[in-house]
Symmetry: none
Subunit: 430 residues, 2 copies
């Protein structure tokens, strides 16, 4: 059976005007890749009914599978259902399943079902409903000109779940390919793509062709993907995966087959395992470390309190940082982060602390302490470690990177890592 | 003269696999917008010569202007020149101007001209060269099927300069248009798309066709766009914009022409204007409110300290929440958030506080206080207001929404809003 021809139609004025950058099609491509399928063409058009109808007909003529993304919402610029009905020459009718979904959706959220929402139940006759776990708009499938057309929501989170839990299974069922793709993902923190590529080129120069290496830089974690679809690849992948793991070392947060976890989640799991509690004392990251930890369900078993001490006065008032350290060494110093960590440990009775003080910019830098300077202290009361790093990046990136370095330093402490993290080798100034 | 039909063809395997996200087309759209032009269709294909030739012919048949991006490089997967020559049935010939450019380019960089580079001088006969100030590959223009085709480099920096300094001028010369597009954006918090659509349908049923309405749901803000390109639209847009602003009321964070700001930034600007300081006392949002505030540069002038009190003990220890309130009303209660706010005000000497305690889930709900229950207290010491809301959404969404509601409640207080926020009308339980 030859591989099906898959095409993609993206709709939305905002995609045409440059107001938003399309990330959905990358997500679709990645999920299809797991099935051994590639997208052969991708067309983006504005919200115009005639254009949409013509495009649907044109693409359906050539494709075996057409995925349409966007235009399922309740507003007047959402035209996918209408265009599909007109292209396939059927009427729009109220679909019972869509109505039931919408009612239960509204009920769960305790909101009233309103008239615009009801538009989302008007779908082409004979279409098959695709459930949407995360949103009000159901997806749907129709067959037109011997092409399976899947209509999907534009909201990335909704699309992601619908693809993973519904559409990829449907495609695998109706368009089976003989390829069995096997993917292993290494979640890596603290190494960039080019650094890692260089390490592989130098230390594993005979990397086999049958195992495809892919990199996906998703701040803060870099995902390294090992994919194979052939027999030879299946056989040797474990060996090469182990070789790769060895050279990346403790920069690997986890080796996974399926759902990735965040760095915070990995740290929390380790804290829970060791029955330890952590506290945070944050200046330049302004609560982000606490927020990363508490985004995870079940954080309460390992996290009770965090301190955001943005001003010098508050470092003294809340964490008992001494006036002497502040005036003698400045707020961004080894002495101050140690006192912050000690203060947070004392006030919260936690076992571990992470304390951070730095200059996120864009203002506030000096010649001795330029923007990007940051001090971190971490560990337990009797064994606090510190490091001073220079991370001269944008405020946004600086905060995210430093917050995650904070989590990673504690993680490394808990696994008794003896390896020096790359970000320390590269960016340590003291 | 009618507006020319502009289409876009993007080439590159990396755009199909999801390995990179396309940002070039947004750049092209933005530069064309200055000329009053929109892109009507955008097609992306992999590096395959037959596909490219077919696509060029198909698009050139319909478009007046076709911009092709990518495929001008020196490697074997760069196929644009060859595809253009085949589509227009001419030969590839060495272009003197391209060779001169390439030689001077190499000389300036002190590199040798190599064979792969020479490929970049082989272009379709009769094409017009478009200089490239920033790269080795020149662009070129051909006319095919009454369509002006511009071939442009894939490197964003090279593309940007070539568009700004060459192509937009060429288009303006050969496709003059009198249209000027005007866009106004309303940044809205607390109203969903469907609610807003309903309000417009009911209260402004005669909304004029000459002003296009667009919605973009970017959690937490919803952006409402009013766009017009005709004379009538330009004339009446201010009137209809004012009507729309009136019905949306204080849910509008700002009406803007260009760069959007976050809700946190708007609040900080207001706090700075009024010379006020804010503090945060967070349980279920776990530091996210503090983090949203401190993500903004210059937050330090209005924010000195925040408290993350995740456990009951820490609410008592750090914010002096009473045992009595905790045992009598529970951590998620009006009494406790008031005490949290008071405690935070006292400890931080801030003027304003926002305190939050709720059940983010997925666990921890009871029959009386299900997952999604949240209490907020906000205001200054002598005038603390409270509200209890039920927001039964996923943990992730709950935290983001509640954190932003916290910011919005303070913002409304500072602008002395007398209007009730939609999220209070819809979700208040107490």
């Amino acid at each position: 059976m030859p591989k099906p021809n898959v095409q993609l139609l993206l709709t939305g004025n905002e995609l045409m005007t440059g107001d938003i950058v399309d990330s959905n099609s990358a997500m679709i491509a990645q999920q299809l890749k797991e099935l051994g399928l590639e997208i052969s063409r991708k067309v983006t058009v504005a919200d115009d009914i005639t254009t949409l109808i013509n495009e649907i007909n044109h693409l359906a003529e050539q494709a075996d599978i057409l995925i349409i993304n966007g235009g399922l919402g309740p507003t007047i610029d959402d035209l996918t259902a209408e265009a599909l009905a007109k292209a396939t020459k059927v009427n729009l009718t109220e679909h019972k399943d869509a109505l039931i979904h919408l009612k239960s959706w509204c009920k769960k959220r305790d909101v009233k079902l309103n008239t615009p929402n009801l538009k989302q139940t008007l779908l082409p006759q004979n279409c098959t409903i695709i459930p949407n776990k995360d949103g009000s708009a159901v997806g749907f499938k129709v067959n037109h000109l011997a092409c399976d057309i899947y209509c999907t929501p534009g909201v990335p989170r909704e699309l992601k779940t619908m693809l993973a839990e519904q559409i990829t299974h449907d495609i695998a069922k109706y368009h089976p390919t003989k390829l069995i793709t096997d993917t292993t993902r290494l979640q890596v923190f603290g190494l960039g793509e080019s650094t890692l590529q260089k390490m592989i080129d130098e230390q594993l120069p005979t990397w086999p062709k049958s195992i495809e290496l892919g990199f996906r830089a998703g701040m803060p974690l870099l995902e390294v993907k090992l994919t194979t679809s052939c027999e030879e690849g299946h056989r040797i992948k474990p060996i090469w995966c182990a070789k790769l793991e060895k050279i990346i070392g403790d920069h690997i947060i986890a080796t996974i087959k399926d759902t990735p976890l965040t760095l915070a989640k990995h740290l929390l799991l380790k804290l829970q395992e060791d029955k330890l509690k952590i506290t945070t004392a944050e200046s330049c990251t302004g609560g982000m470390i606490a927020s990363l930890l508490t985004k995870e369900a079940g954080a309460s078993s390992s996290f009770e309190a965090g301190f955001v001490t943005y001003s010098n006065e508050m470092k003294t008032e809340l964490l008992a940082v001494t006036q002497q350290s502040l005036s003698q060494h400045g707020a961004v110093s080894r002495e101050v982060v140690i006192e912050m960590a000690k203060g947070a440990l004392k006030r919260s009775s936690a076992d571990f602390a992470i304390a951070v003080s730095g200059i996120a910019g864009p203002d506030g830098g000096t010649k001795e302490k330029p923007v990007g300077t940051v001090w971190l202290a971490w560990g337990h009361k009797s064994n606090l470690k510190t490091v001073g790093l220079l991370i001269p990046l944008s405020r946004d990136y600086f905060q995210k990177y430093v917050a995650n370095i904070g989590l990673d330093l504690v993680r490394r402490e808990l696994i008794n890592s003896t390896q020096t993290a790359h970000y320390i080798t590269e960016r340590k100034f003291s």
